[in-house]
């Protein structure tokens, strides 16, 4: 019987090597896999390239991973927000690289990687500096920019409910990039708030089919980035 369950977040991330490309689900605080990120901090892999819409908040989760000096490069659409201080400081000091990607292009580059399509044309960025150096082609009288797929070695994902096969459901807007990242990474590691038995998720309700998931760790009552920040916590 297939069972993708891992006993702990520590074991689930233990083979992420230095230099890995890691996708991290979440949009701001919602959907951020805090326990997996903290396990990655404990594990200590460095020189990482991280793909996320943002760069984390406060000094927990993704921001803590960056602050711990483990990230060489961020690929994101919006690296600053009201509570993001770690990334801006390192960026201004020239200690971290940044690739800025429009949000819809970021999502689609991840989606097509999972779908086996190496590149696509999009109208987004036409006529802007973010299209500089990229191939532009006209279709039906309008210009489009060629964008490549975006793959990863690992994805760290938070979901609401999972079964041992890796079928997943999410909670509200915590879904965001996660189903796409599950498809695009070689090894997808999921922390779930609840692990249920095979058959307990209605097949009609599965959002991410288990074929896209490799490892499941149950993290009951996961901490939330906003709560940690409100409590003034930091990690490690």
């Amino acid at each position: 019987m297939i069972n993708k369950q891992f006993p702990s977040v520590a074991e689930a991330v233990s083979d992420i090597p230095d230099g890995a490309i890691v996708m991290v689900g979440g949009f701001g605080a919602s959907g951020s896999p805090i326990e997996l990120l903290h396990a990655l901090i404990d594990h200590g892999a460095k020189d990482l390239t991280v793909i996320n819409n943002n760069t984390g908040n406060g000094v927990v989760g993704l921001a803590a991973l960056i602050g711990n000096g483990q990230v060489r490069k961020m690929i994101c659409s919006f690296p600053r927000s009201s509570q993001s201080r770690v990334f801006p400081k390192l960026y201004r000091e020239g200690r971290i690289e940044l690739e800025i990607v429009p949000q819809g292009t970021l999502a689609e580059r991840i989606r097509v990687a999972g779908a086996g399509i190496p590149a696509f044309y999009t109208p987004t960025t036409v006529g802007t500096v973010l299209a500089d150096g990229k191939e532009v082609r006209e279709f039906e009288g309008r210009d489009y920019v060629l964008e490549p797929w975006l793959k990863a070695d690992f994805a760290l994902i938070k979901c609401e409910v999972a079964d041992p096969l890796g079928n997943l459901t999410y909670n509200k807007t915590a879904r965001n990039f996660s189903p796409l990242m599950c498809m695009a990474a070689n090894t997808t590691i999921v922390q779930t708030g609840k692990l249920v038995a095979r058959g307990d998720i209605d097949p009609e309700h599965v959002v991410t089919p288990g074929i896209f998931v490799n490892r499941i760790v149950e993290v009951s009552h996961p901490v939330h980035e906003d709560t940690l920040i409100a409590e003034g916590r930091s990690y490690p």
Binding site: G28, S30, G31, G104, A107, G127, K172, T173, F177, L180
Partner: protein, 214 residues
Amino acid sequence: MSTGWTREQMAARAALDIPDGSYVNLGIGIPELVTRFVPEGREFIYHTENGMLGMGPPPAEEDRDLDLMNAGKKYVTALPGAAYFHHADSFSMIRGGHIDVCVLGTMQVAANGDIANWSTGAPDAIPAVGGAMDLVQGVKNIFVITQHTTRHGDPKLVETCSYPLTGAGVVSRIFTDLAVVDITQDGFRVVELAPGVTFEEVQEKTGAAILPPD
């Protein structure tokens, strides 16, 4: 000399131009006020880039769901009939031309419909584009709500944007504190003046030629 429309009145005026049944995406700032001024008898369905249609107003603090936020990362609610979806579907709605109206704030708009609202291009600025470039290319009607001039009195409606573009030739209508202005083949044209505001005042505060109302 008039003071023109307030922020609320600008949002209310923009709401008047959104047809009943529209799917609408609102930018951060004054555009968010549009939800308070939906004309009687109309229904708009709000889209948020992070994966929801049918977004409702902010919840009371005790009713917050930490997993339910908008693209500005503020807590919101889901109205009856709402739907959640992942980011690729969300931006398919945007890029695929399924969203009817997007209302954005801006730093500059040019007479040819170019918009610059994501970066000043300053050397020490950290670039942050979010979904702005996808929205301006994909949504059917791009409305802009903005003060007519900057805090320093410089025009925000200009001949050519000096800041890096978000999109070229994409804006259709601008709602300022002084006037409603269309982008036409001949450049800016005043559609309506705020009460007490003269065309001459609008012309003086606009950084490009502007045509009077028809």
